[in-house]
Amino acid sequence: MRNSDLMKQLLLKLLLLSILVIISASAVKYIFYQQKEDLPWAFVSNQIYLKSKIYEKKQNSVNTIFIGSSVVRRGFNPEVFDSLTLNWRKPHSFNFGVNWMGTPESLYMIDHILLNNSSNLDYAFIELSKLKYVDYANLHTTRATYWYNSEYMIFTVQAFLESQTTKWFVKIAALLTHAVSYLENAIGLDHWHIVTDFETRKSRLGDTLDFVPANYLGFDALAGNPELDTEVNAEENVQIGIKKLLNDSSGLHKRKLLSAAAFADAERNIGLDKVNQVYLEKLISLKKELLDRGIYPIFVLAPRADKRQYEEVLPLFYALPTQNRINIADSRKYPELYSVQLSADETHLNKKGAARFSEILANEYLKIMELRKSGEITQ
């Protein structure tokens, strides 16, 4: 045989072997993973695991939940919110904000906390997020790969392809990183370690769980909760963040201007036609599913977003029914949410800021409740 033929043959064999490897790895993973039923979906990160455990404990009393990213985690103070909405049905709210949480991972989260659990929930706030890709630093980590299944992978691919606001190279990067993560999940990369390590981690985190104060409702004013996370320097890090911001607040100022411009455009209907239909359909079907379970969903625009977030999320936001959405991102309406005084760093609010965030949310929530009460909303 000629060399080029041999080379082709070798490449073909390698390809065949790769396919065989993927199939057998998936099979092994599938068979053994199914047997491990007590492995909770939330094992991937201490933060998610502990929050889900704490929420589980409080499930009977909690009737309002807020799912979102670290902006929510550090911005939504359930105590403030509950105290301001007393005159309506007494809410017991819980902050399920988790660092870096966004679409599509957050949708998976909603599935597990809201749809797969019998709960006492009446209201669910859901932070609207752009379609995220796995950034380089987090690629190959358990957190980045745990949630993939065919359903979410198909949604992710379709949504990215459909997106009119995402640039082509971002699309390619996103599809690639998601594909890699999906594949890693499918073949059970480093799988046994995760499964077996879980017991060890569970017992360790179980101890941590005992230290959680009874009144903890998921709100973490610091970048890390020293009691829940391994982050020991949370307090210091916040000081560093504030110092940095006091030195140079131009980033925050840019975000303020960006918000004003984005909402000014939206009011003039600019860019709102670029609706990501795949994403929108997903949100609408999610909304229906939640309503079927007696949970009233409210989609929230949180402050301090970036450009891609506005471009992608604003058309979705305005396509949702008014009674299911709250906007607290508009810097023209809430300039204080973009002030240095209320900041922990460029993207996060401090404790005072969180109080203001929760207050605005409460006001907007009450408006929707008034509408529901007066019968204008039949849902």
């Binding site: 041999l6 670290s70 980590t141 460029e346």
Partner: protein, 448 residues
């Protein structure tokens, strides 16, 4: 050829352009120094110059801070305030290996064992050859350089051999070494929380972690080189089957040991040949002192080198005596006994080498038989899975090393019937993927 150089340059540039620039500069320097040494009538002068420059480069990057911080503290003991400034340099990737090869090249030309390379492309290709960039082998120019002139043809068997080597290397690195690493890091990272024989276990595991990690990397590098059509030094030859510490160093990091033998031990021992056996003891001590220094700029490595130097010196002095004693045993018993003694020394020596400070060494060896904390024995927080899988890996290595008639695995696999062979490949890769330490456990939280 040009592509290969480009690949190497890209490989180095991952660690920063400053490092690459320095390596290119050293390459250029040695290219010309080689030619100069060859032309000179008195070859010693340009050789000395070339060696001094190379050593100086290594000194600046690796030892400057260690050396002068010691000097500073020495002066402060004498109540003199002298402050040599500390340098904050990023060490270029592989510089330690790079310099050894450069010195070897210059010396070989002076010894007229090597003619200077006149083609800069070949020369740069040899020095920057990326499979050996990170951890060697310390290849001799006279063995590797001519291979850059050979025309490379596609060779099916060669490529599959290379791929198998890579897979085996990955297995050793990801499944065995990194698995053992969890335990070793835990113990050595929190030394004072532990006491008792757990230190021996940590040292034992560390020895195998180091072997699996290093030899795994070596196999991968060798595999890549094989695929590209190059043969390089085999750096390990079943080190745990060594029958003496001398034998161990002929089996462990062979390319470094032979380098040290050729350029340090041999000249020194011959120079001091009139001292008889003590000349050799002196030479071996110097050799291992340098070896220790080369491994790392710290007192730990200096002591570790001296420890090995003493062991080899002991073996030189007692060679005849030991031989007469072993004659009283059967051949197999003598071998097993020698392997056991060497093995124990190896573990002790690496237990030593892994410690962070001399104080830690003292702590380890004074507390290793302290049984006051029996409850904390294996309660390290390292999962049983890591320990069991790691131990199985250790067992596998030991079987492969101690079983004398073990067949050449690479060949054995290649000769399997096709169905078995493919099943084996498939299983092996799945095993590496699912049992290896691949995904990072730490998730770096980004904003949002």
């Amino acid at each position: 050829m040009f592509l290969l150089l480009l690949a190497s340059v890209i490989f180095y540039s991952f660690s920063g352009w400053q490092g690459l620039l320095i390596l290119v500069a050293i390459t250029g320097f040695n290219f010309y120094s080689g030619i100069l040494i060859d032309k000179a009538t008195n070859k010693n002068l340009p050789l000395t110059f070339a060696v001094v420059v190379n050593v100086l480069v290594l000194f600046i990057f690796k030892f400057y801070n260690f050396f002068f911080s010691e000097v500073n503290s020495l002066f402060s003991l004498l109540d003199i305030t002298v402050n040599f400034p500390m340098l904050n340099l990023i060490m270029p990737v592989g510089i330690s290996y790079f310099i050894l090869q450069a010195i070897g090249y210059n010396v070989d030309i002076q010894r007229e064992m090597q003619s200077p390379e006149k083609n800069f492309l070949v020369f740069a290709n040899y020095f920057l050859f990326f499979p050996k960039a990170l951890q060697g082998p310390v290849d001799r120019p006279r063995l590797l350089m001519p291979q850059f002139y050979e025309k490379k043809e596609f060779d099916y068997a060669r490529i599959t051999t290379g791929l198998r080597l890579i897979a085996w290397g990955l297995f050793k690195k990801l499944v065995i070494a990194d698995r053992l690493g969890f335990f070793v890091t835990e113990i050595y990272g929190n030394l004072h929380e532990y006491s008792g024989p757990i230190f021996l276990l940590a040292g034992f595991f560390y020895t195998f972690q180091l072997y699996a990690d290093f030899s795994g990397y070596m196999d991968m590098a060798l595999g890549v080189a094989t695929i590209l059509g190059f043969s390089m030094f085999r750096n390990f030859n079943k080190p745990f089957a060594a029958t003496s510490v001398t034998d161990f160093w002929k089996r462990w990091h062979i390319s470094l040991s032979t380098w040290l033998y050729e350029y340090v031990f041999n000249p020194v021992s011959l120079y001091k040949r009139n001292w008889g056996i003590w000349g050799m003891v002196f030479a071996v001590f110097i050799t291992f002192l340098l070896s220790g220094l080369w491994h790392g700029a710290s007192w730990i490595f200096i002591f570790w080198g001296m420890l090995n130097g003493i062991a080899l010196g002991y073996e030189i002095v007692t060679a005849k005596w030991r031989k007469s004693i072993f004659k009283k045993f059967s051949k197999a018993t003598a071998r097993n006994l020698s392997i056991a003694v060497t093995f124990i020394f190896t573990i002790l020596s690496f237990t030593f080498a892994r410690a962070n400070t001399p104080a830690d060494v003292v702590y380890i060896f004074t507390n290793v038989f302290n049984f006051s904390n029996p409850s904390g024995w294996l309660n390290t927080g390292v999962s049983n899975f890591d320990l069991i899988l790691g131990s199985l890996g250790v067992l596998l290595i030991l079987i492969l090393h101690w079983w004398q008639k073990v067949p050449d695995m690479n060949l054995a696999i290649a000769e399997l019937p096709v169905l078995w062979r493919w099943s084996f490949y498939c299983l092996a890769i799945v095993f590496i993927l699912q049992f290896g330490v691949i995904s990072g456990s730490g998730f770096i939280y980004a904003q949002f």
